[in-house]
Symmetry: C2
């Protein structure tokens, strides 16, 4: 369970665009330079983000890419799911119903584990948006609110467990 460069470069590029939101189109070669990524490779990645409606492009001189929505409207989960595909650890979670019967009986017991894992990763990634990254308010640890962890010094505003 590693992230590929698609997810990593993709998020970095989107963060780069978020930092420059409102300044007009950002040419891809400047992002490639700053993020130390091959321009041609980045073009492929941006194509995915564009098709997903997360960025808008303008062609020609003075063209480039910009976020298609405000930074706070784009979550890390939106980006990573586009770049890496869905987080479903196993196929039977991808289907419509949560209660499809599996071929292996045992698999269905184990399946709850994968469902928990999927729900957790989605919750974490969807709880962070690009504006959070720009603000630098994202820290490495979850900050439980007083209700969740009475001994903690953190305020309820910061609670990220709910």
């Amino acid at each position: 369970m590693k992230l590929s460069t698609r997810g990593r470069y993709g998020l970095r590029a989107m963060y780069d665009l978020a930092l420059r939101y409102g300044e007009g189109p950002v040419p891809l070669n400047s992002i490639a330079d700053r993020q130390m990524v091959s321009l041609h490779y980045l073009e492929q990645l941006m194509a995915k983000l564009r098709r997903a409606g997360l960025v808008a492009s303008s062609r020609g001189a003075q063209g480039g890419y910009e976020l298609a929505k405000q930074p706070e409207e784009i979550t890390v989960g939106d980006i990573v799911r586009v770049m890496e595909g869905s987080f479903d650890p196993v196929q039977c979670l991808s289907r419509d119903s949560d209660y499809e019967d599996c071929e292996q009986l045992e698999d269905c017991v184990v399946r709850f584990v994968w469902k928990r894992l999927r729900d957790c990763t989605n919750r974490v990634l969807d709880s962070i948006n690009l504006q959070d990254l720009c603000d630098g308010t994202v820290t490495s640890e979850k900050k439980p609110c007083e209700a969740c962890a009475p001994d903690s010094q953190k305020t309820t505003d910061e609670c990220q467990l709910s």
Copy 2:
């Protein structure tokens, strides 16, 4: 971010062993039959689990594999980390220090995202052990305790957020 067959088959094999814990060695071909996995492939997977000290093997007729510890002492995280490798989404999280300086400045901002993701997946997977799977008490949703979610009907015993 999908799990490979190693992680999925590995967990299923371990669950199979847990169900038969205390009954002596379980031959691999019986596991392969039940779990619909190639015997030879399963042999490779079990070798990893054996080297990690999670299962013990006995050779010869009436030989087989059994859990090297009690089912409640082996977490899903133990198994998945052996089979899939560490969950670190990016390399700079794998190092000793949490504060190694990255080559890209932006990467370090984005890095907190990956750290959160890693911590979350570890927390989820380490919160489930093989006995839980055998008991069938693992459901798909986290059950917050009253302190965490006062409106919930769940008891404090079931809280899995802490």
